[in-house]
């Protein structure tokens, strides 16, 4: 009697845990996970003054730690986080959580101070102190702590060494090093020449261009969000969502055959995926015009250019007409400050950045593949 009650209870409890887990697995489907990350970032930026209060920070820290630790009871989740090369991911959660908090906390305090006409936290910048002892001691302590931290990490965890390299035995999934997982994720939505060459190139160029695009003279040398909302928001979207969140994607949610799995889901290499991706040309010629995909050229164009005209038109519209529209609407004030060349550069970088979530959503929602698919020249977009 007693026994059976206990058994029922633990069964119920187990059922509850399973229900929660499958709930989380469900929420971690790509579109939900992505939308929630964006929403989270948005809410944080909108409410940064309240949300960076120490009490809120501590609450998030504790809640996250509890959830993360409880998750470790799940064998599939555990197998991901204890991979030695995935330790940086756990570290990243905490360090980026903390430092993003610290940065925005100081911005909130500074913004408040400016409204009340009080001095900034960084004020009194003419007061000088001697580097010896004030700075060298800080540096010394930082170095010692860093060394201790590395040593403990090195003693506790051995660096991984798998089987000797074997060119004939591809692991499934074959993952890039963790810091490049965001780029590998882009390979799903773009062809390699965009995901692996063009977009990384644009990231580098875009980063280097920041000081030359951002002509806002305020917010130089102190923490503030209020005075540079646009710049900081763009940076957070690019860095946190399109780089860090995609790394988390690649680490936790990508399994064999680069399929999506929930964080508590077994990586089944034989899970069938019936995916028929569709290109814009098919939608246009077959679904809208009800005719076959053109196999012959027209107007002197090769057939593949003629076939892809709708996609080419969309791209021209996106990269060359849309900037003009943005120029006179949402970005009007910005563009007036910037001048033509700066604005053109900024808008192109912005549109490329926006193309990433656009193509992700199109894929998840409608199995959409290429806007322009000139497979004949490997020129797929």
């Amino acid at each position: 009697m007693m026994n059976s009650i206990l058994a029922t209870e633990s069964l119920l409890a187990a059922g509850g845990v399973e229900a929660i887990k499958s709930g989380i697995n469900w929420i971690c489907q790509p579109h939900w996970f992505f939308i929630l990350s964006c929403a989270g970032t948005g809410v944080f930026l909108a409410g940064y003054r309240t949300l960076t209060k120490p009490a809120v920070g501590i609450f998030v820290l504790v809640a996250f730690t509890i959830a993360y630790s409880l998750s470790a009871f799940d064998p599939d989740f555990l197998s991901i986080i204890i991979k030695p090369d995935n330790i940086p991911i756990t570290l990243m959660f905490y360090l980026f959580g903390f430092f993003i908090w610290l940065g925005f906390r100081q911005s909130a305090l500074n913004d408040q101070a400016m409204e009340e006409g009080k001095p900034l936290m960084e004020a009194g910048s003419d007061d000088k102190v001697l580097v010896w002892p004030d700075l060298v001691y800080t540096e010394l302590i930082a170095m010692v702590l860093c060394t201790v931290f590395l040593m403990v990490w090195a003693v506790v965890l051995r660096a991984p060494l798998e089987q000797p390299a074997d060119p004939s035995l591809a692991p499934n999934p074959a993952k890039a090093p963790w810091y490049f997982l965001g780029l590998q994720e882009l390979l799903v939505y773009f062809d390699p020449w965009i995901a692996g060459v063009l977009l990384p190139g644009l990231v580098i160029v875009g980063l280097a261009a920041i000081p030359f695009i951002d002509k806002n003279p305020r917010g130089n040398g102190y923490y503030t969000f209020k005075e540079r909302k646009f710049a900081v928001t763009m940076f957070m979207i690019g860095f946190v969502i399109l780089w860090l969140v995609l790394i988390v994607f690649g680490t936790f949610l990508r399994g064999p055959n680069w399929n999506f799995f929930g964080p508590y889901e077994y990586w089944d290499a034989h899970r069938p995926v019936a995916l028929l991706n569709i290109n814009l040309s098919e939608i246009f010629w077959v679904q809208w015009l009800n005719q076959g995909i053109p196999t012959e050229g027209r107007w002197g164009l090769p057939h593949y250019v003629y076939r892809e005209l709708p996609g080419i038109a969309v791209l021209i519209g996106y990269f060359f007409v849309l900037p003009g529209i943005l120029r006179v609407t949402v970005f009007k004030k910005l563009a007036d400050q910037m001048g033509f060349i700066r604005f053109a550069l900024m808008v192109q970088l912005f549109l490329w950045m926006a193309l990433i979530p656009i193509k992700m959503v199109l894929r998840w929602g409608w199995n959409f593949k290429y806007i322009v698919a000139i497979t004949e020249l490997f020129l797929n977009f």
């Binding site: 700075l135 090195a154 060119p167 490049f180 390699p192 040398g221 900081v232």
Partner: protein, 261 residues
């Protein structure tokens, strides 16, 4: 006066000590300034610095830690080079031997975890520089130097990933280098590459494209191992070292750590 401090004074007043440190004990303004000025390493700093610039919550010390982690990588990396031979016959077994037989075999762990930590530290450093708007004039150029350092740091990690020559290494590099195949015009599966031809003979093919240049071959093999080894141990660290020098020099020339004007 205790015995120890008397001994300390005796050492500091002696000729040997005096030959190294040309100033007295840094206890007052003048000797403290001398301590920084007359030391080639400390001389990276100015003598005095804005109060706001040394607040830990302003810089998070992240640039400094990135630099320190780079030094850790250099030291442990040089030690690793004593044990490691970059050939397909030996590479894997040298690493295996290193973890099994070498006293203080923590080297490899320190080197690997240090590399991970450096990647995280440099990202955090960039985040703080951005959030404080420190890339704004007059520091635009130093931000650009920083961006190049960021790319090189990631490449350092990436080239090092191949060296243990295990499955993890080979396939991570295979995934990464496959992209070079798709470089526009220069990769044999890249867009427009087919158009580069003379009389129907393609000029860009698997045997001479961008990926071939990266791997010194058409697959991740012995040539790629040697190429990555040289890039990882010599070429990239040298460039990073020079650029860090430029970076530090410019911090001072641009007026020190940024602060409100």
């Amino acid at each position: 006066m205790s015995v120890f401090s008397r001994f300390g004074d005796w050492v500091r007043e002696g000729q040997i000590w005096g030959s190294v440190f040309r100033h007295g004990v840094p206890r007052d303004r003048r000797t403290r300034a001398m301590a920084v000025l007359s030391n080639v390493f400390l001389h990276l700093h100015p003598v005095a610095i804005r109060k706001s610039g040394i607040r830990l919550s302003f810089t998070w010390c992240m640039g400094g830690l990135t630099f320190f982690l780079f030094l850790v990588e250099v030291v442990t990396g040089v030690l690793l080079m004593f044990y490691y031979r970059p050939t397909v016959e030996y590479a894997y077994f040298d690493i295996q031997g290193l973890r099994a037989h070498v006293t203080l075999g923590l080297l490899r762990e320190m080197h690997r975890w240090g590399a991970h930590a450096m990647v995280i530290a440099i990202w955090l450093h960039m985040l703080r520089v951005f959030l404080t708007g420190s890339y704004k004039p007059p520091r635009e150029f130093n931000w650009v130097v920083g961006v190049i350092l960021l790319v090189l740091t990631l490449l350092l990690s990436f080239t090092g990933y191949l060296l243990p020559w295990d499955q993890l290494a080979m396939w991570a590099i295979a995934v990464g280098s496959n992209m070079a195949r798709a470089t526009p015009v220069l990769g044999h599966e890249g867009p427009l590459a087919q158009l580069v031809q003379i009389g129907g003979v393609p000029l860009v093919h698997a045997g001479d494209d961008a990926r071939f240049g990266l791997l010194a071959g058409t697959f991740v093999g012995p040539n790629a191992l040697l190429r990555f080894y040289v890039l990882h141990c010599i070429f990239i660290p040298l460039v990073v070292g020079v650029l860090i020098a430029v970076h530090f020099w410019r911090i001072r020339k641009d007026g020190g750590i940024s602060g409100p004007l």
